[in-house]
């Protein structure tokens, strides 16, 4: 249980292992909100699931990773290779197709295979794939493990790349606006705090490693600092031009069944200017168990 709100509401973070279960939980109303892949959010809405994108989870935070000793030096070298993607509904899949267009490569010139994100590093290490594209911390995992190197960070090939977005059920947007606003404000304030000081990122890595990711804190510290703009937590308002590009690409490659208008799946009414938001850190409870700045 995590208490993120100065307003007193409780936000319970519920971890999932795969995207299919996330989708089912959303449809069954077991969860009110979820961080989900951007194209998947569009497809769910196109399928009639009553949800809307209200905010982004982060910007960037994805990399294309190849083996340390691989002969692959640029995107063109991926021609004919096997590359793992997290899901066909992932923006990482769209990025691969966007890059193939840029490099004048036919869409079938790379063998893209859906592999669950946690399995990407081991698949690369075993040699069953030649490269993978995935969100952190699984890209850094191969680097830290000494068997992978980053071919491209998304920040270098698709500026302000969007991976996960925050979607909320329509009934909550209509009837429980206060708690949705608390959630969005909390994410915005957390992001602002993370991006303003590297020390904050190191503190956050310690907490997230234990309470959310169940990964070594050193790995998350690496993700949040090597380089520091590897993943960004500000500029999280959903913008039409970003989503239209994603939507058009998704339609072009058949991930989305039909075009869907920005207004149909997005509600940006909860976005507030960052200068209006700030944490009162003294009001956040300390976790007596580990002596760190965790919230109880």
């Amino acid at each position: 249980m995590t208490e993120h709100s100065e307003g007193g509401s409780l936000f319970q973070a519920l971890k999932f292992g795969d995207w299919a279960t996330v989708k089912e939980a959303l449809i069954a109303k077991d969860i009110g909100a979820v961080f989900i892949l951007a194209p998947m959010a569009m497809q769910l809405r196109a399928d009639g699931v009553p949800i809307k994108v209200v905010y982004l989870g982060h910007r960037d935070g994805t990399a294309i990773v190849v083996g340390t000793d691989s002969s692959i030096r640029d995107f063109g070298d991926l021609r004919g290779k096997i590359v793992a993607i997290p899901s066909r509904y992932a923006n990482q899949n769209l990025l691969m197709h966007r890059m193939m267009k840029e490099w004048n490569m036919p869409f079938d010139s790379i063998d893209l295979r859906e592999v669950p994100p946690p399995e990407h590093p081991t698949a690369l290490r075993s040699g069953s794939i030649d490269a993978y594209i995935v969100g952190e911390p699984f890209a850094a995992m191969a680097e830290v493990g000494g068997f992978g190197r980053v071919l491209y960070h998304t920040k270098d090939i698709w500026e302000d790349f969007i991976s996960c977005v925050l979607v909320v059920r329509d009934d909550l947007i209509e009837n429980e606006r206060a708690i949705v606003q608390e959630l969005v404000d909390g994410i915005a304030k957390s992001g602002k705090w993370l991006d303003e000081d590297l020390e904050h990122r190191m503190d956050a890595a310690e907490i997230a490693a234990v309470h959310y990711y169940q990964q070594p804190a050193e790995l998350l510290k690496y993700v949040l600092s090597k380089p520091v703009d590897r993943v960004k937590y500000t500029n999280l308002a959903p913008l039409r031009e970003d989503f239209d590009e994603i939507m058009n690409l998704a339609v072009e490659i058949g991930v989305l069944a039909r075009p869907i208008a920005f207004e149909e799946y997005t509600d940006d009414s909860f976005v507030r200017p960052l200068d209006e938001l700030d944490w009162d850190m003294d009001r956040l409870a300390r976790d007596p168990g580990d002596g760190r700045g965790g919230r109880q």
């Binding site: 509401s9 936000f11 973070a13 999932f16 961080f35 989870g57 935070g61 959630l183």
Partner: protein, 53 residues
Amino acid sequence: MKLRVILGALLWTLLITVLHVSLNVGWGELVQKAKVAIGVERARLIVGFLPVT
């Protein structure tokens, strides 16, 4: 006669309300909302995530 009409209307309203809560809202949800409204419990929202950025 007038009293019977009023009683009938009240009963009908009660019946519709009970059916609405049972079919559309759920008694557990109603109790939860009431507790939040009177300050016994805090509002709660479950937010799903995958441990990947």
